[in-house]
Symmetry: C2
Subunit: 408 residues, 2 copies
């Protein structure tokens, strides 16, 4: 975009991405609503409290091997050539061993297990051909998890293996944060939900953003289309001030785009208007009665770029969730990407994955500029970020391709 | 594990991981059940058919800029010093221009748009100070997506941005594969669902595996615990032969572990019994009446390793879904990992993420051996794979840490 365009769009100054994000996040307060959910429903949820183990694992001294539980002292001095003689019984006593299997409880009085390979049954007697030390082949109480041990800190996002551990210590439910709520409000007089006449456009941005919100751990409310009218926009924002976040997706023309920031500045505060990123600079970020309002541009690609850059971290903070890095794939850039210094530039690429044998994964930019072409995102495999201090990326350079469409 | 242990466990020969996986996947047939779902429910689902665009995007010639729609020829020769004079009207005609906004339909008869910056309104006339070529500043029908264009091939997993594209071409639902069904059957006489007495163990494996199945796109049925009895095990397997896959999670002792492969070999076929991996070699893979049966070991860590190595690809194949690589993080290994040549070894690590300023991300093995300690997985951040042709990994080496607990 040329400087003329910039002036035309009315952005006197564009805020850098990091500064804009910081200004927004400074005003996002994590909500404090929690709920108790059964373990099977806790996958992917965020722990609200420190979780400690109410019970140890294992809960009892157990045999770590198949064999005979013994008093260790009864085996002292035993060897292949001179085995100790014990007898098998139901209870431990002097020179009396009890058959045990891996995982079974160690009988009272026993303090070690002789592996079955070291024991020969000879008529009524057991020939023990190796000595064991106290505690040998025994898994003591709390070997894996001790009673009261801290397992997780608040903010941990529960994964399948965590559920196993939580259940093993005797928990049946956990306290998690409620999913942060997000109103997603499509705006634009040209928008329709289906069957567009000439001049009309099918609403897609708020659908896509709603699904992102869901994947990022939030609870989206996909609102009906609001037309480009200050009254209607104000009402739409005020209706959702009970949500943790409000997102509007804008109409596609410059005039319409400014309507929403104007409305927000009347009933609240605009923190940022215009960010030094491409595509998607005409984003605005504001606050109305403590509820952050993210005003995303209407061009589909610009909308997605801004949702990932601003909505995702805001949602994570509102929900007290960690904001993890996107998964990346290393690839060799097949064609240079142009960018202007000072502007963080996002380029869509298609990956050609390495097939092995020293093959390299390569990334081909699908379209370097243009913020309206949804197919260039939907048919791409990921994104390359050109930082502000660079002027493009040269062909052949090794780059990290970010996957923005994963679930976290 | 020593050679003595190996002999003791009764595995004459262990199959390599790749060979075992191939033997299994050769016997997994993708199911052919599909369903039509509305777009909002299609996120994360797998397309069953080729999807083409029923309508072009845009559906009409549209203005790409704010300005005046014109017949290009009426602007020819115009310049700053010698503007062409046109008049504004409601319809296009010779020397008649129509005001348009970005995205609005190009009026009939117009073939270009003059940007608003190039037009001065002087009383009733328009001074056009720049010539435009035919098609200039016009987004023609089908510029983004042409009618009938193929958008996706079968097997594509739908992402949020795909939903936008699918909706923009006029689709309201898509045909997706049904989620593959998986019975997850916990077995072991020592298992209980809660309140374990000494000698009893809380069931965790089947819970964890069920949640993995869900994250991988399958529909798990988490069955009740089956005791170590051939009749009961046979009945449990036969009950679920209508599922796409059956997974059993085993008891923890060698004797019990062999019960299920014995049952499977009686009513079906055991394809693999014992795999050259660690932890978790005593896995068995079989088929009963065309339904793959994965017999996972009962040690929690061994169970997870085998679920990821065998169940995930089998599930993906059964559902016609792509089996994507796990996301990885590069890290410097803080402490060496030991392994035996010929055995693919999986080590849990905890990551210490780089904080910037040339900092490196480091990975510390949480426990190199031991397959029973669930806390070592649940408290770890990922896995390092040591291939069969290596003997451990040295401290300081840069390695890829796999995240197994993502959703795909």
């Amino acid at each position: 975009m040329s400087h003329d365009d910039l002036r035309h769009a009315g952005f006197k100054e564009r805020t850098r991405v990091e500064a804009a994000r910081e200004r927004l996040l400074d005003r996002v307060t994590p909500h404090d609503r929690t709920e108790r959910v059964p373990l099977a429903s806790a996958d992917g949820r965020t722990l609200a409290t420190t979780v400690s183990a109410p019970n140890p694992v294992p809960g009892y001294d157990r045999a770590a091997m198949d064999g005979y539980a013994v008093r260790a002292e009864d085996t002292f001095g035993a060897s292949d050539r001179s085995p100790n003689l014990l007898r098998a019984g139901e209870e431990i006593g002097p020179d009396t061993a009890v058959r045990v299997h891996t995982g079974s409880e160690l009988p009272a009085g026993a303090d070690a297990v002789v592996m079955i390979e070291q024991v020969s049954e000879v008529r009524d007697e057991l020939e023990v051909s190796d000595a064991v030390a106290e505690g040998e082949n025994v898994g003591p109480v709390g070997e894996d998890v001790s009673e009261g041990q801290t397992l997780y800190e608040p903010g941990h996002r529960v994964r399948p293996s965590d559920l196993g551990l939580l259940k093993s210590v005797g928990l049946t439910e956990v306290e998690v944060r409620e999913r942060p709520t997000v109103a997603v409000v499509p705006t634009g007089e040209e928008l329709v939900q289906s069957d567009p006449a000439p001049g009309e456009v099918i609403e897609t941005n708020a659908l896509t953003v709603s699904r992102f919100v869901d994947r990022w751990g939030g609870r989206p409310t996909y609102r009906e289309i609001v037309t480009d009218d200050p009254e209607a926009l104000r009402a739409a924002i005020q209706r959702d001030l009970t949500k943790d976040l409000i997102v509007t997706t804008g109409g596609s023309s410059v005039g319409e785009r400014d309507l929403i920031p104007e409305v927000v500045s009347e009933i609240g505060e605009v923190l940022v208007h215009g960010v030094a990123l491409k595509p998607g600079h005409p984003v605005a970020l504001g606050i109305v009665e403590d509820t952050p309002v993210l005003m995303l541009p209407g061009y589909p690609v610009a909308c997605i770029v801004n949702a990932v850059q601003f909505l995702r971290p805001a949602l994570k903070r509102a929900g007290g969730m960690p904001c993890e890095d996107h998964p990346t794939t290393e690839a060799r850039l097949e064609r240079k990407i142009r960018s202007e210094p000072g502007i963080r530039t996002f380029a869509r690429v298609k990956l050609d994955r390495a097939g092995g044998d020293g093959d390299e994964t390569t990334a081909r930019p699908t379209r370097v500029s243009g913020s309206g072409v949804l197919s260039s995102v939907a048919l791409a495999d990921g994104w390359v970020v050109v930082p502000e201090d660079r002027e493009g990326i040269a062909e052949g350079e090794t780059i990290a391709v970010e996957d923005w469409e994963w679930s976290a």
